[in-house]
Each structure stands twice: as C-alpha cells, then as structure tokens.
Symmetry: C2
Subunit: 300 residues, 2 copies
C-alpha cells in the first residue's frame, strides 16, 4: 500500500528554502497526487486562458524530503504507474508557443477519456501515453520556477518520462526535495502550442540513491534505451549539451572509446526534441541498451 | 526495365547552369547509380580523411532534365528501391561534427554487410535502413553545393527519405535538374559525427509532376505520415520553419482550422532532427495521415 501525498501540497519553485510537504523513505512506494498544469482552473471550453490566475499555473506536488539523500547523490526515480483524469484540456494562447506569431484566437478544448483513448472535438481519437511534464529536485542553490526546465529537472516535458521508466537526478540539497506534476495524457515531441493533453492524476513511484557517481543528469532509462536530457536557452545549445552528456556517459560509464562512441551515436543514436516552447528548450539523446550490452555494460 | 544513369555522371552543386547528364520522362522508372559521399576514396581503415581530395566529396548523380517540368511545379519522387554496397564506411574528423571539439583522432571504420545487418568492429550488428542523404532539384537562382541542404532539397540527411516513401520538391528551373547521392546504409537522427554508414549504391525511382500547387517543400510522405523539412543556419530557425510549414500545410491543404492544427500538432505531431552537422541544420515535422483522414483529406 503506497503512502499517499495529497495534491493539496503544491509548490511553484524547486528550491532549498521550501518546507518539505512530507518525509519519505527510500524504496517505499509513494502515490503522488497531482493537479493539472492549470491547478484545475480549466474545466470547460468556456474557461479561456485570459481568466487564468497565472500564479497558480504549473503546480508541482511536494516537495518531498527523501531520507538519507545528500548533495551529489544520484537519485533514481522508478515510475511505476501514472494515473490520469477522465478529461484533459488543451488551450491556444495568442503570442505563446511555436505558433504564437500566427495564432490569434484563444480557445480551450476538452478531451474526454474513452477507454485508453482521448477524443478531440468528437473527431480524432488519440491513444493515451501518460507522461510527467514536471519532475525534479531542488537545485544546489537558488530557486527555479516549476515552469522552467534545467539541470535539476523541472519542466522538461520529455515523453520518455512515463510508467515503467526510470529518471535519474543529481541531489542538490539534503533530502533532495523532490516533486512532480503537470501530467499529460498524451503529447508529441516539441509541445508546439505549450501544452499536451493536460490532466490531473497521480504518479506511483519509488525513490532510491544508486551508486552511479557523476552520472550526467537528468538521465532516463527505459526497457530499450538510455537518454541524456539537456535544457538551454537555444535548441542548438540544448542539443550540444545532450550530445556531449551522452558521449561522456558512453566513455566514462560504458567504457566505450570516444571514436567508437561518436560513430555509434551517429549510426544508432537518436537526437530528439522534448519541447521548444518553455523558458529553456529541452533536447534528449537516446542510445540503445542493446549496443551497451555488446560492450558488456549494464546500468544496474 | 529501368533506364540506368551511371554513377560517372557526378556533380557537386545544384544549379541551373549545369548541363543535364540525361533527359528522362515523367513516370518512367530510373535506376540512378551513386557513389558514396567520398566518391570511393575510402575503402580500408588505412584511408584516413587527411588524404581525401575534398573536391570529390558529396557527389550527386545527375543532374537529370525531367521533361515537361516548369518552375513552380511540384515534383513527386517515388523512391521504389535503394540498393546499397557490400561495405560502408564511417570516419571521425577532429574539429568536425557535433563532437568535433572533443574528438582528436582521425579514424576510419569499415562496416561489412552481412545479410541485412552491418557489422561495426566485429562487435555491434546494426540492421540496415537505407536512406538517401542528398536529393534535390536546382534552385530557381544560383548554385548550392551538394553538401548543403536548403529549400531545393540537397544534403538534408533525413532518415524518412527511404524506399517506399515519396519526396516532393518545388521545381526551380525548366527540366528540374534533379539529382541524388550520399546513400547511408543506416544513420541515426542527428548524424553526430557528420556521417552515417556511407555506401555506394543505386536508387530506383519515378518522377512525376503532381497537382499540389504551393505545397511547402521539401515534403515527405510515408505510408503513415507526412512531414515538412526545413534547413536553416540554426536549429531554432529550422524548427520554426518546419513547424510553420506544417501549420501552413494543415490549414491550406487539409483545411484544418489553425487552432485545431496547432493543438493536434502539439498532441500527435512530432518535431524531429534530421542533422545538426552540415552548413545548415535540418529539422522535420511529422504529422500522422490517420488524423488527416479524419478531416477527410488524402494527399493523393
């Protein structure tokens, strides 16, 4: 039976100064309830973004003090399950997002859940693939708004951050001060209009410190691949960061020579977009575990 | 029986001033033989890039004058088959590519073909997915080196440009002056060290003018999706171009309202990297045909 953390425990910046909502133990199952990215302010197609209280956008649930975590530790989050709500919302916001220069009309769409599909305007049925938009730990210094991604995690909007996968962070402060929110029932890479199918829900997870000192984080592991994630002011810089972090991982952890690492990254690695619409842009680099196995490396 | 165009017909810039290697008819099957991107200069691991004659890098085969094509026409290339060689090569070049700042040793790797797999250093087996690196038409004015991508096509290094798929170009000059080359037996999105598995080979294709005036090109169609492709000095600009071209396509061709187009692009569209290492960077935006069908649109 998982320990439940209620979605009333909202916070709006990852930082060391916040009071923990709760203390949790490593290895214990936690059910973290989350608001949608609008903290429930959008329920019908009449709820337009001009009526939003922007002080209540992008809430994360937490922060959680994880016992026995210290700065520099690598924290592994095993995402066991993502529960989503019976409806999701999407909005258009003139001036915002990758089409903000041409979109002139505010609009809200409500997508009802029907089995494992979302229904868009009674026309298009989309199979859900629930993911976590905001997830991270407090940075070593300062505060980062929950709407911004960075080295600490945050609003990365990475479609790999889904049930069955693992996310790794570098602990910045004692207790880690972990939190998550901003679930999407579905989203495409890029997040063109600054939202996926925004939904309230809950994340069932376990947190553990693992012996991977110096792992370039944020880092994701799925059944088939590992991925570095990097956020920066431009996509060009984010791509450079994700690529260099993967080369660093392959050479230092998997003990693959730099030339082999580079050629294999060119051959079977995939540079991918997470999002291009937040205050920093986020890119990931994916590399197949099957190739790591040929070099006798397994992450755990 | 396809008309064969020999790989001796090399050219190094897409431009209107070139003499056509041959005239071909719309609808006829053509087998275009191609050199690898080094014009065969690299055959063994002893052939390093410092001995390359760079005047013979990135050859395309052609150009082909396609009868009945005029400026502004939309030219559809049906890629029927891609044949690859018995070995492919990869190189590392200090100072070049996305890891050029850390790679210090020149190296050449030769990957033998074994069935439908490439063998990298007797260690890693990679299933081939042959694709065309360089493909395009002459621009309306001026010349573009075959190593550079652009609105005319060229060195886009897009993994979707593969057998069974279609590529669309806007004809720039009478006769189109089409050409292709730079086949890869396999490549990951990003093309980190500026090469995939570089191979000689041949492309069997058909060219036809189609009635899609104003289509934002280059444009790709596969069994399941359509994609816009855009190249620009920075990835940020290339992403903006690919996104806006897709919004333009969805609104003008598929008659989807701009807000619906934007929300669906955010929900089920995928912004993807082609390459980040050529003189211009190339990004594509993929959108599922199944959603177009719900709006009663089919491209042909």
């Amino acid at each position: 039976m998982a320990v439940t953390i209620s979605r009333e425990n909202v916070f709006f910046a990852f930082g060391s100064q916040l009071k923990a909502a709760a203390r949790i133990e490593q290895g214990e199952e936690i059910l973290l309830q989350t608001h949608d990215c609008f903290e429930g302010q959008i329920q019908t197609t009449s709820d337009l973004v001009d009526a939003l209280d922007w002080g209540h956008v992008n809430p994360a649930t937490g922060p959680l003090y994880i016992t026995g975590t210290r700065p520099g530790d690598i924290l592994r989050i095993d995402i066991l399950e993502i529960q989503i709500g019976q409806q999701s919302s999407m909005v258009t916001i003139p001036g915002e997002g990758a089409l903000g220069d041409v979109i002139t009309q505010m609009e809200t769409a409500i997508l009802k859940l029907d089995g494992n599909q979302l229904v868009f305007k009674d026309k298009v049925r989309i199979t859900t693939h629930p993911m976590i938009g905001v997830i991270g730990v407090a940075p070593a210094a300062g505060e980062v708004p929950t709407g911004t991604p960075g080295a600490h995690g945050g609003n990365m909007d990475c479609t790999l951050i889904a049930a069955g996968n693992r996310v790794y962070f570098t602990v910045g402060v004692e207790g880690a001060m972990f939190g998550a929110g901003d679930l999407h029932a579905a989203m495409g890479d890029g997040e063109i209009v600054v939202c996926g199918a925004e939904t309230p829900g809950a994340v069932r997870f376990r947190a553990d410190v693992v012996e991977l000192p110096g792992l370039p984080t944020p880092f994701v592991e799925t059944k088939d691949l590992v991925a570095t994630i990097f956020s920066a002011p431009t996509i060009d810089e984010a791509a450079q960061g994700a690529i260099h972090n993967m080369a660093d991982f392959l050479t230092r952890f998997a003990d693959i020579g730099l030339n082999d690492a580079g050629m294999l990254m060119s051959l079977v690695g995939q540079l991918k977009f997470c999002q291009v619409v937040d205050p920093l842009k986020t890119v990931r680099f994916e590399f197949p575990k099957a190739v790591l196995a040929e070099y006798d490396f397994r992450i755990v």
